[in-house]
Subunit: 251 residues, 2 copies
């Protein structure tokens, strides 16, 4: 990225922040912004959300790391949270077929869309926390895109890796791509697999942490979900894909 | 997009196709490409995949359209497939809390990543078809990005809309954005909601169709998943985001 692009990006982010502030102001001032989607209350399902008992984040991380090597990223995070709950709670967790979530690998059957670790987080928070689970997922995504990862250090690593990277995106394609560039390895390398295994551990531990806080009524959501801020399903890094020519949004 | 960009894109796609052919050639020739992820066999879970009985695609479409207005896109597709199976099969479908899948809205809690309709397809094919479900999802994604949608015409539309669009992407941000540009409406408009409700109907019907074919052993997978073709979690529309300066992929 050259300096012109950097400057343009800063300008755009500044504009985006102002737009977001303006939108927030309108929302607070009038409550009149039309909803992005239907706002009916959740259906009253007797057995949902499912019961939760606190999980030790380090345990979730260790399970996640190992399970990545069995069924990839989404499966890894789901196992990291559900297996401890099978022990601590029992049903309905035993009846949930965790293999059904393998499809999230490599950004959903290899398309590079949402990182499978985040999809796994969305699934478990959906089962466990219901509507507040969306806020937990949103916080995990913010932490994921802003943090240099992976941070987890396995006691017996399959492969040694050297670098961390900040994804600035929840997309597998961008997140994995940025790390691969730093490490100078291709996607089909043992190093990239190890990075993703450790990322599973990180996301599993973070998810367990926030679920624990939520279960103690201590969870505080620090962010609105992006579609409420931008009135568009998006994030604030427009120039990463659009360059300096950001398309106009219809009013 | 100006003519230079168009030309560059064509050139790039041509290169990508050649690369893909070359990769396929290597794969067929040697079988030696290192796997993108672990290739262990699925765990043997007694109760999984779940039993399936054929679903009338028109019925799935009608349910999906209505359920969108209750809980958005991912929830809509999941309901469109699971509710008929609750009637036809019973358990374990009754025990699955469908509200848990609302988080997929607007590209996963509003981040604009994978279209929630495709996430819904991935979930139901994961429960029903297991590993072949990944091929079904991959075919649905190909159809989704290549087809002018929405095609569904509700008998009693909530809102009239004028246009269809070809997304060329499985991402909510791009798919919804392209349609919004054609229709000249913002995301928080009744028209955009109607477009997504009809899209739920389309994806639900397509998913039911392919699941029916699969249940009759007539399903044929026409595509490898992208990470196997490109050795990267990606699709072939690089210039949509990267412009003409596509980053080098580490070897």
């Amino acid at each position: 990225m050259d300096s012109t692009e950097t400057w343009s990006r800063r300008r755009l982010l500044s504009c985006t922040a102002k737009l977001a502030s303006a939108a927030a102001g309108i929302a607070i001032g009038s409550g009149a912004i039309q909803s992005w989607s239907p706002r009916t209350s959740f259906a009253k399902t007797l057995k949902w959300p499912w019961p939760y008992k606190k999980i030790e984040p380090g345990k979730a991380a260790r399970i996640g790391y190992e399970k990545y090597y069995e069924g990839a990223c989404c499966y890894g995070v789901v196992n990291a949270i559900i297996l401890p709950l099978r022990e601590a709670v029992g049903e309905p967790y035993h009846s949930l077929p965790l293999d059904a979530f393998r499809f999230g690998h490599a950004g959903v059957v290899g398309w590079g869309t949402i990182c499978g670790t985040l999809l796994g987080c969305g699934l478990v928070t959906g089962f466990i926390a219901g509507k507040p689970g969306e806020s937990i997922l949103n916080e995990v995504i913010h932490w994921y895109i802003e943090t240099a990862l992976p941070a987890y250090r396995p006691s017996s690593p399959r492969t040694n890796i050297k670098h961390t990277s900040r994804s600035n995106s929840p997309l597998c394609h961008i997140s994995a791509g940025r790390w691969m560039k730093r490490e100078s390895v291709p996607f089909d390398s043992p190093q990239r697999a190890e990075r993703c295994a450790r990322l599973v551990a990180d996301v599993a531990a973070k998810t367990a942490n926030l679920l624990n806080e939520w279960s103690e009524k201590k969870f505080i959501s620090g962010h609105e979900i992006p579609v409420e801020i931008y009135r568009l399903p998006a994030q604030s890094n427009c120039t990463d894909c659009h360059g300096t020519k950001v398309p106009e949004i219809p009013k």
